[in-house]
Amino acid sequence: MAVIKLQRPKLNFGEKIYFGALIKGFILTMTHAVKSLLGKSASADSMASSGLGVTMQFPEQRWDEHLPEYYRGAPALVTDEQGRERCVSCQLCEFICPPKAIKIIPSEIPSDDPWAKVEKRPKEFDIDMIRCIYCGMCEEVCPEQAIFLRKDYLITGLKRADMVHDKKRLYEIGGVRTGLVNKWNELK
């Protein structure tokens, strides 16, 4: 690696006493302060601010509609148009999960179930939201398009146990997702 020697910039007298810069900064701050009081600060409208600057009054005000498409919130399981739970408990997400937040207990689908040909589904599917780091690897690795990171970011609870999302809760958050590949259908 080449070594580059940097020269300190030569400062003139005005810059050396830094008093000018102090005043400059003060003026900038005051300009923004006045603008915000007048409701004219940048992106005040788009952020639906409360009138005082860009401060959003959470939780009365939410920025949910500003969440980008790629926002990674809570992971959740989805069902498809036919109401089939898409997860087949292949446990790849459990394997890939960096903080080991996912725990799956697989089970067999009974033969009288309409989707008996899929053979396998999770008996239990727990995601510990205290551990989850919202990395999205579970969604990326899923071969069945069954787990997605939704835009839910308010994951709270009063007990540690509340923070573990079980299968029921995961399907609640996930809901129905359409337009996915339905490889288990009779003919595709």
Binding site: V88, S89, C90, Q91, L92, E94, F95, P106, S107, E108, K117, V118, E119, K120, P143, E144, K183
Partner: protein, 585 residues
């Protein structure tokens, strides 16, 4: 050899040097090696570290050569014209004329001056083509297939496949999720027609119930009409199935294999001492598979032994020492339990104490049992015999895994001899205290439950709830075979090692530790045995066949310590097949 003159060249040519030892020279990927005559090409490649991908070939089964995955390029020296001397390079090898067509490496044997190429355009194209054909009708079941993670088709598809399918037609539909036997599930769509299972059931298990029906793409593996795949060796077919066509009902959907930790250990269900691998995740054992040992079990094991592990994390396990207070068992601490045991045993005269140990105990435990008997001064020490019908393959009549070890360690020809006299002693009241190690007297040793009421003191080490424990004054929770280390000697005299796959539940302790603590509690003085290695060391000094050995020196394949003359029937079959040239391994 390059400096040899033409006059002596005849004698020192590599072909003659090799032939003198019954060997042939073979060039594999450009390097010359020597192999015994008759070696299969695939085995020759394996010996030099080149694994030729294959599905149907199994060293312990015949080679029908039907999967075509092991195609390699082969060459032989060109046939010289009459009277013409063969050309030789400076090392004495003839030039290799490469064949334009590939050959299968599994069913062809090596010959003098043969050349094998396991890579190159021809071979790689062939593999890619075979992979593509195999995947035409293969379902996209990997997410639900138990074989995923240890599937040859997956592995070879990644390594030799083309990545994307060119086929747009419908896949052929075949029966899925078929119960062809009590322990085996068949998925015909996943089958790649390698016929390993068919050959295994025919050649090794001796129960040829599997076969193919239909032709071409519609070839279907099926079980003979009116029959089931219910042999006691059926689960081996799931082991050798390179894909997920045959899977175990017991292991079905329990856990993906990539989560499982493998521990090499041995089976304790009979005197054969089958080598096994225990597959566990966390503290739960999920399955047991046979481990190759050509001196014990080849690569197979019986289903009854393989599935006998669910009790280990069952409801009936003892997890803390129990002491009987007013006819009611109560949990006590180890310190109190051992103190009670020592006090009660000291209150009885040594001649009135008997020890009933188990042939399921390791050598180390038996050695400490002997020390315990010596410490007490009791002459009454016996094991419980456990005999049942043998099968003609791997299951021995002696269902105690360590009878041979007991004979060595206890220095007796019949370790079961004193059981009857102890039983009589208990009945007549001559024996007042009984130490029972890992045995249930009522079901296995011919005692009646009422006999046990005669005793002043009964202590039992055990892992599962049993009638004897009900009568016992003190129950000490011990370790199951997958939870302990130690060594055993099988019927043919091979010293083998148990390894710990999972931890003991609750307060349960290793048997040898319980015995050591009992000895210390009785003698009142400390000894210098702190590790299982220390026990083995002390034992190796006392038992001549073990001298010079340590636990680690035994190795995963075991060490032959004496010749008992016992022959494992399955190995005899296998050696006959090998001598006849039917199999390779």
């Amino acid at each position: 050899m390059s400096d040899t003159s033409s006059a002596t060249a005849e004698l020192t040519l590599p072909k003659d040097l090799a032939a003198a030892n019954g060997m042939v020279n073979v060039q594999i990927d450009g390097v010359w090696h020597q192999f015994p005559k008759g070696t299969r090409m695939i085995e020759a490649c394996r010996k030099v570290g080149t694994i030729v991908p294959h599905y149907c070939y199994h060293p312990k089964l015949s080679s029908p050569g039907n999967c075509r995955m092991c195609l390699v390029q082969m060459g032989m020296p060109p046939r010289s014209a009459p009277g013409q001397q063969p050309q030789r390079d400076e090392n004495g090898y003839e030039p290799i004329g490469w064949m334009p067509r590939p050959v299968i490496a599994c069913a062809n044997t090596v010959s003098e001056n043969m050349g094998i190429r396991t890579s190159g355009e021809l071979v790689e194209k062939c593999r890619e083509g075979v992979m593509e054909f195999l995947l035409i009708n293969h379902p996209l079941d990997c997410p639900i297939c138990d074989q995923a993670g240890e599937c040859r088709l997956q592995e070879h598809s990644v390594e030799h496949g083309r990545g994307a399918s060119r086929f747009v037609d419908m896949k052929v539909k075949k029966p899925k999720n078929v119960e062809i036997g009590p322990r085996i599930r068949l998925d015909d769509e996943r089958c790649i027609m390698c016929s390993r299972c068919i050959r295994f059931m025919d050649e090794v298990a001796g129960d040829p119930v599997l076969g193919f029906t239909q032709r071409g793409t519609h070839t279907t593996l099926t079980v003979h009409p009116g029959r089931l795949l219910d042999s006691n060796y059926s689960l081996n077919t799931a082991d050798i199935c390179p894909v997920g066509a045959l899977t175990s009902n017991d292991f079905r959907f329990q856990m993906r294999v990539w989560f499982l930790k493998e521990t090499p250990t041995i089976d304790v269900n009979c005197g054969t001492g089958t080598n096994i691998t225990v597959w566990a995740r966390g503290n739960t054992i999920h399955r047991i598979t046979p481990r190759q040992n050509d001196e014990v079990n080849s690569t197979w094991m019986p289903d009854s032994h393989r599935l006998n592990f669910h009790y280990i994390d069952g409801e009936a396990r003892f997890t803390e020492p129990l002491s009987k207070v007013d006819a009611q068992h109560q949990a006590v601490s180890w310190t109190d339990a051992l103190k009670t045991a020592a006090a009660k045993l000291k209150a009885v005269s040594p001649g009135q104490i008997a020890i009933i140990a188990s042939g399921r105990m390791t050598n180390e435990e038996l050695y400490l049992t002997k020390s315990l008997a010596a410490q007490i001064g009791s002459p009454h020490l016996s094991l419980v015999p456990r005999f049942a019908e043998p099968d003609a393959l791997l299951i021995a009549a002696d269902r105690n895994p360590n009878t041979t070890g007991a004979k060595l360690v206890l220095e007796t020809e019949d370790p079961f001899a004193k059981l009857d006299s102890i039983r009589e002693g208990v009945r007549s009241g001559q024996i007042k205290a009984l130490i029972v190690l890992g045995e249930d007297l009522v079901t296995d040793a011919g005692f009646h439950f009422s006999d046990l009421a005669n005793l002043d003191f009964l202590v039992q080490t055990q892992i599962l709830a049993n009638p004897t424990a009900l009568a016992a004054d003190l129950v000490l929770p011990a370790a199951a075979f997958a939870e302990k280390r130690g060594s055993m000697v099988n019927l043919s005299g091979r010293l083998q090692r148990l390894n710990r796959a999972v931890e003991m539940p609750g307060q349960a302790r290793d048997d040898w530790e319980i015995l050591r603590e009992l000895i210390i509690a009785l003698s009142g003085e400390n000894n210098d045995i702190h590790l299982i290695e220390d026990v083995f060391k002390a034992m190796a000094e006392a038992v001549p066949p073990f001298s010079g050995l340590t636990l680690s020196k035994i190795g995963h394949q075991g060490t032959q310590v004496l010749e008992t003359g016992y022959r494992i029937p399955l190995l005899a079959n296998e050696r006959a097949a090998k001598a006849a040239g039917r199999i390779n391994g």
